[in-house]
Amino acid sequence: MSEKNCVIVVGAGPAGSSTAMGALRAGAAVTIIDRKTNVGIPVQCGEAIGKTGPGLAEISVPEESIRATVRGFRVYSPGQIAVDYAEKEPSGYIVDRRVFDKELFARATEAGADSLLGARFLDITRSKGVVNGVIVRHDGQRKTLEAKVVIGADGVNSQIARFTGLRKSYKPADIDSCFAYEMANCELEVTDLMEFLLGNEVSPRGYIWIFPKGNGRANVGIGIGGTIETKTAKEYLDHFLKHHDVAKRQLSQAKVIEKRVGALPVCGPNKTNVVDGALLVGDAAGHVHPITGGGMGYAMVCGNIAGRVTAECIMKGQVSAKHLQQYEDEWRKIYGSEFEQSLKLRELILKTDDATLDKLAGIVTGESIVRMTAGKKVKIFMKAMATGDKHLIALMNELRKLRMV
């Protein structure tokens, strides 16, 4: 490994590997480091990814990681009113993250990135206030790795974010606490839709998901708000599996083949993700959809931008925040309003009681859910007025303030 790396990417997940590939394509030298020695393990995710993100990032989804193709979703309201959305053609995949992450990482190294696994981040180094490297513990030794730019792709608990001051600790309300089982022997009613279940009883401030993984297997999980103290995420999921109609119909014979835990930022992107000599990508940057919790697509697209911009800045010899800001500007141009709108929508949904959500489920189509979660306008105002329900109409007025109906 070279002593003076141009770019050090901390974290070998999809965000890190995508960033590395972007930087390599633009001519920079890259070293990816990771605390772990097994990339992709443990899996901490619903494993769903749309086709759009990888397409924009020009990174193909590794064939060998694909477990199922999906065409859309089925959302169950608290009172179990199902709303379906399905496109004619597959619009996304459920992948095996162990394979997905590993393959992206392998590709990044094949494209020229150096790798250093089992390297635990200890500190950043600075010269005249500009980040210029990291200190890690590797093979029992403390090592300093120099860099022109350090990229934090180190997830929700990003140490690069903390050490650069780009983010302090999250408030519990700003994260979702997740628990999931990978299950075999499932009897899914639909094998090409992702199922979501909402409701205060089922999963307060979050949702339960059932994602098909082919051959009777599924990723079944829950994310609940970090402020929920009544029960743990695991207890909510276990209760669901035992008592809920939707689970009884599909998962009564299912067996657990893997247990997973995770945490998600659901408060939108950090105010800024650049400082002199460093930037953040992926979950570390808060690039997670505040409602769906999806993050892989954003990680790939924004990572790709970050890599290219970093390489360009290094070529020009200008790695200050002012110049790295180009990355912020570019990703915000694509996703800025989507994050802003869906954050407001999230707040609104959290305020809405279960009975009103049921009424909403009665008038929305799958199409409108897609538009809403993308922060776009929907035509449901007249339908809501026609119900004459004052809670639903009040909700519409709130949505109108957000210019979403």
Partner: protein, 71 residues
């Protein structure tokens, strides 16, 4: 054991992570206001010198692996 050198507000509580339940999701670490939970290759550790015993980590653990114990 309370460290004698601690400058933190003295509390009698300390976060304790049950290694058998913990799945290393780091939810606890993300909300820790003093960055007292460190991640090694295969487990999480609470740095007693940093932990103030505030208990915010207990709330967010998806499996209930964290308890506050007496120092």
């Amino acid at each position: 054991m309370p460290p004698t050198t601690s400058t933190k507000k003295s509390t009698k509580k300390l976060a304790d992570i049950d290694g058998e339940l913990c799945g290393i999701c780091q939810a606890c670490a993300t909300v820790c206001p003093v960055n007292a939970i460190e991640v090694t290759e295969s487990y999480l550790i609470v740095i007693p010198e940093k932990c103030t015993g505030c208990g915010v980590c207990v709330k967010v653990c998806p499996v209930g692996a964290i308890t506050l114990i007496e120092r």
